[in-house]
Symmetry: C2
Subunit: 416 residues, 2 copies
C-alpha cells in the first residue's frame, strides 16, 4: 500500500534532500542502506525488492543490482557507481515519494531505527583550513605558520575511531604536562581539557589509484556527499604530543559524524563563493576556476546540552573555510597517496570572525582561562563528564531548505 | 610425492623461521597464503587440501578450516586465531618439512611467485622512537623535545600507500620552500630531497576494541610478527608541511615492507634487553617487567644499488630503539583508539650511536650537505631517480639463523 509521507516544516529530510545512510531495526538487525524522508527511513533494499521489478529510468543498473547494492551494510558500492547513476537513483526516489508510490512497509519511523556508520572507512584525514581558527589558536601557540597560506594543512586521523551519532565518547587517559600549558612534569591520567571541534566531513566516491593524482576541475566526481563532524579533542594530551609529529591520541579517542550523507546533488543549489578569495596567490593545481561554485553555503550550529538545558555555543558556515573542500581534495591527491571509495576527509574546525563564531572551546575560552557563562548560572571552560555536544547544519530557508540532522555525543567519564 | 627441500646456507627461510606471506603465480593468479622454506614458497591452501585430511595435532581448527583460512588473499584470518593455534600450525609445518612429508606440488620456486601485501591493513601508525635518530635529526631542527623521554612519539600514516617489496616508488610532487631549508618562497614540483628510513614494522594479531586499552604484559598476544619497513620520506615536502600537524605527503607516497612476516614464535630465541634502560622513569603502563625479553636482537642493513653496484649505507639493530615495540603498542592502545587485526605499526627509523649506524640520509648526509662518497667515485646526498634501496634483517648466526629476506624498492622519476 502506497503511503503519503507528511514532512514537518523544520524537517531536514525534505524531497529536496534524499540523503543516504545505513540503518538497522530491532525486527531486522542486519545493517542496510536507507534514505531519510520526513520522520521516516526508507529501507532501500526492501524498496527495490518490492516495487521496481523493472528498470529505473536513466539508470543503467537493474533493480536487482540496486537491491543488492543497497542490501550491503555500507554505502561504498553505491558511492562507487558513476555520478549519473547515483543522480538517477535519487531522482527516481524523489519521484516515487512525490507520487506516493512507496509502499508503507518500506518506511520505518526514524525513532525506531538504529543508525550505523554510513561507509566502510579505509582512510580518514583531517584538515586545518579555517584561517580564523588558525589565527585564534595560534595566538596561544606561537603565531600562524606561513605554510598555511600556500596549501591546505592536513594530518592522517584514525579511521578506527570514527563513530556515528549518537554514540557516546569516553574521556581518554593520556600523558600530559601537569601545568596543562605544555610544560611542567609529565603525568598520566584522564584528560582535563576535553574539547569539541565543529567540522564537516565528506566521503570519497570515485577512487584515485595509488600513484595517481586528480585535476581540481574533476573534484566533484570524487565527492559522494557531506556530513557533520565533531573532532573531539583533548587539549592537554595534544599539547604534550604535538611536537613534532602532530596530533595522535588527542584526536584518536573518538570522531563523531552525523549518520546521513547529504549528496552533492542536494547541495548543488547552495554552491557559492568561499568567503576568502586568494585565487591570485594559489598554485595552479589548487585553483578552482568554475566560479561561483567553489564551496557551499551551509549554516552550522554547535550546542551544549547539560542538565537537560541546551546552550548555543557557536554558529558558523562551511564557506568560511580558507581552503575549500575541493582544494583540500586536490591537495590530498597531489602526491599519489591514493584515495579509496569511503575515505573520509574532515574539513577542519570552521570558525568565523564574529563573536559567537568560534568552532571550539580552545578558542572560545582561551584554553579554558575565560569560561563561557550561561544565563542559568552554568559555565563552561572545557567539557565535563555528562556534557553532550550537538552539531546541526542546514542550507537555505523555506521550501528549499535541506538539513543534515544532528551529530550528537555525550562525554562519558574516563575508565578507572 | 614428498619432497626434500635443500636449504642454502645463507637462506633466511630455514626450518627455524616459517614466515607467512601472500603469493600468486602465473598459473594461479589468485593471491593466497604461503610460508617460505629455502628457495621455495609452500602453498598453504594447496597443502591443507592435498595432505592433511585429518586433524592437526594441538590445533583446534580442522584441516578444512585451515584450508579456507589460508585460501584467503591475506593473513588476517590466520592472524586472528589464538596464538596457540598459530603456534600449532607452525610446529606442524616444521615437522612436515623436516620429515619430507610435503608434496612436491605444494612447493613453488620463490623466483616464480609474486608477493602481495601479507595483510589487509586497516590502520598504519609510524613511531619516532630511536633516541639517536631523534638526536641526529634534532640537531638540524631545533633540539630533542622533552616529551620524547616520557612516551613513544607516533603519528598516523596512510595505509593506502603501504606496498610490498619490490614495488617501485615514484618521486612525489609537492609544495616546499625553494631554499629547501624551511624558508624562502613556496614552490610546487618534484621533491628534491628523497630519503629512505630503515625501520621495522609489526602487525596486530588479536584486536583491541575501540574504547578498550591493553596491559603491556599482554602485548605479545597482540603481535603477529615483524617485517622490514622502508619509510620513504621527502625531506623538502616534510620541512614545508610539518608545522604544526606533522608529516603527511612527505611520507604518504610509499612505504615498502618485506613480504614475509616473521612470527613472534620464530623471534622468541632472539628476545633480549633493549640498549637503553630507562625503566626507572617510565610510567607504569609503559613498563615491561618480564626481563630480559623486552625487545629482539635483529641485525639490520640498508644498501644502495646504483648502476648494478651495491653500497652498504648503514647497519643497525632493533634493540637500539629507546621505546620498544611492546612499549609502542601499549602507548598506542592507551587512549582507546582501537586496533584491528592487520593494523601495521612502524618502529620508526632505527639508528645507532656508531659510525655507519645512521638510519636515513637526512642524518647520514646532514640534510644532503655532506654527501656519502663511495669507492667507485659515486656519491649520495639524497636519492636519484633509478636508485634502489635494499633493506635486510636477520637474527643469530649458523644453524639457528633466521632472516627477513629483502625489502627492495627502485625510485621512479616524478610524473610530468
Amino acid at each position: 500500500m502506497a503511503f503519503k509521507v507528511a514532512i514537518a516544516e523544520r524537517s531536514p529530510f525534505t524531497l529536496h534532500n534524499i540523503p543516504f545512510g545505513v540503518i538497522s531495526t530491532e525486527a531486522d538487525p542486519q545493517p542496510r542502506c536507507a534514505t531519510a524522508i520526513g520522520g521516516f527511513a526508507l529501507d532501500l533494499p526492501l524498496y527495490w525488492k518490492q516495487v521496481s521489478a523493472g528498470e529505473v529510468e536513466g539508470v543503467a543498473a537493474s533493480s536487482e543490482q540496486l537491491h543488492r547494492i543497497f542490501a550491503e551494510p555500507c554505502l561504498n558500492s553505491f558511492a562507487a557507481l558513476p555520478a549519473t547513476e547515483r543522480s538517477g537513483v535519487r531522482a527516481h526516489l524523489i519521484e516515487a515519494l512525490r507520487s506516493n508510490a512507496v509502499p508503507e512497509a518500506c518506511l520505518l519511523p526514524l525513532d525506531k531505527v538504529r543508525m550505523h556508520l554510513p561507509m566502510k572507512i579505509g582512510g580518514y584525514s583531517d584538515f586545518f583550513c579555517s584561517l580564523e581558527h588558525c589565527q585564534n589558536c595560534s595566538r596561544m601557540t606561537g603565531g600562524v605558520k606561513e605554510n598555511f597560506y600556500h596549501a591546505p594543512s592536513v594530518y592522517n586521523g584514525r579511521a578506527s575511531s570514527v563513530i556515528p551519532s549518537p554514540t557516546p565518547v569516553r574521556r581518554p587517559k593520556g600523558v600530559m604536562w601537569d601545568t596543562g600549558k605544555g610544560s611542567g612534569q609529565p603525568i598520566y591520567g584522564p584528560s582535563r581539557k576535553l574539547d569539541f571541534e565543529l567540522e564537516m566531513g565528506y566521503f570519497v566516491s570515485k577512487p584515485i589509484a595509488f600513484g595517481e593524482t586528480m585535476r581540481i576541475e574533476d573534484a566533484r566526481e570524487h565527492v559522494f556527499g557531506f556530513v557533520l563532524l565533531n573532532d573531539w579533542s583533548s587539549r592537554d594530551v595534544q599539547a604534550f604530543e604535538m611536537p613534532p609529529l602532530g596530533p595522535f591520541h588527542s584526536k584518536g579517542f573518538g570522531t563523531s559524524i552525523s549518520p546521513w550523507i547529504v549528496t552533492l546533488d542536494a547541495l548543488g543549489p547552495f554552491a557559492c563563493e568561499p568567503k576568502h578569495d586568494h585565487s591570485a596567490t594559489e598554485f595552479e593545481h589548487l585553483r578552482w576556476n568554475d566560479r561561483p561554485t567553489g564551496t557551499f553555503d551551509i549554516s552550522l550550529v554547535a550546542s551544549l546540552v547539560r542538565k537537560k538545558s541546551s546552550h548555543r555555543l557557536t554558529v558558523s558556515n562551511l564557506r568560511y573555510l580558507y581552503w575549500t573542500p575541493y582544494q583540500q581534495l586536490a591537495h590530498h591527491a597531489s602526491a599519489g597517496c591514493g584515495l579509496a571509495t569511503g575515505d573520509l576527509l574532515g574539513s577542519g574546525t570552521i570558525s568565523g570572525d564574529r563573536e559567537g563564531e568560534l568552532g571550539c572551546l580552545f578558542e572560545a575560552t582561551l584554553d579554558g582561562t575565560t569560561p563561557i557563562q550561561f544565563e542559568d548560572g552554568e559555565s563552561l571552560a572545557y567539557l565535563e563528564d555528562g556534557d553532550e555536544i550537538v552539531l546541526e547544519g542546514w542550507c537555505g530557508e523555506g521550501e528549499a531548505r535541506i538539513g543534515f540532522g544532528e551529530c550528537r555525543g555525550v562525554l562519558l567519564p574516563a575508565t578507572m
